[in-house]
Symmetry: C2
Subunit: 158 residues, 2 copies
Amino acid sequence: MNGIDIILDKVDLSILRLMQENARISNADLARELEMAPSAVLERVKKLEQKSVILQYTTRINPGALQQNLVAFISMKAADGLGSNNAAIELAKIPEVQEVHCIAGDDCYLIKVRTSDSSTLMDLMRNSFSKIPNILSTRTTIVLETVKEQQQLVIPEK
Amino acid sequence: MNGIDIILDKVDLSILRLMQENARISNADLARELEMAPSAVLERVKKLEQKSVILQYTTRINPGALQQNLVAFISMKAADGLGSNNAAIELAKIPEVQEVHCIAGDDCYLIKVRTSDSSTLMDLMRNSFSKIPNILSTRTTIVLETVKEQQQLVIPEK
DNA sequence: TTAAATTCAGAATTATATTCAAAACATAAT
DNA sequence: ATTATGTTTTGAATATAATTCTGAATTTAA
């Protein structure tokens, strides 16, 4: 399930670097950048997909264009027993919930939510969160402005 | 800079929905899904890019495959004057820093960082963060396990 | 050192991207 | 209503790319 047993060489890392920056790069352009035959590059890409090194090709959309300007972080205490993630799993099913993390310290979960505005967030909390058992308390932090937001990894040279 | 003045119709939303799910869908397949001519679809996609509705096509890479398993959230107080974001802008330049948010409440910034392990995080804090002036204090929350992590938006039907 | 497996290049085929002109459609103004 | 204007769509043409396959080269392991 993790990164164990997958060995990525220099070429793989270059592919990942190029595709992380632009997922729609053509295989032909990839091949040109890497100075390899398109067929060889394609084989590697397929292998990276198949080994789940590549999880998804996705499009980053301007949230403002869809009127989704509210971001909030919510920390939650839950009464899930040790070794049980039930609340987290239920939270993860909600599409507006972008991230669910189990964290060290007092609170059990830290989640990130994106909605159109604060009243939609309230609706979400009232209608969806409230249906999840074992949530004991929540503390919501509203984001005023986002300066940077991406998930790109730092890819080593080698 | 925001979502104002951009009007997206049903077809645009479908394009965004399909491309958010799979950025590498071919234009031909897009056209088939939408039952439109490829040329018409291409025009729309170009327009969405040009209007910055589409920000980027990116590849989600398994962090484990690159040995980047540590996620931390750090809240920071900074001495930036009101209306100045200097610390945030400097933080945003650090590649391991994936998110920088200005938040309401006591702390000024909430940032999300991804590194290979806790000692690399310590290095980062010692070497990079410490060089940023005006950071008064930090409180780091280590993620033990991530249940969900994506940035996909909820795209309305219409 | 050989055998097996992996990776690669090149050619052939199939499919796709892209461009363009013309038609269709929508909008606003007269 | 009717014309004019601008936008969007289509369909055809052509340029480019994806994909498959075979054999050669390289690597790995026995």
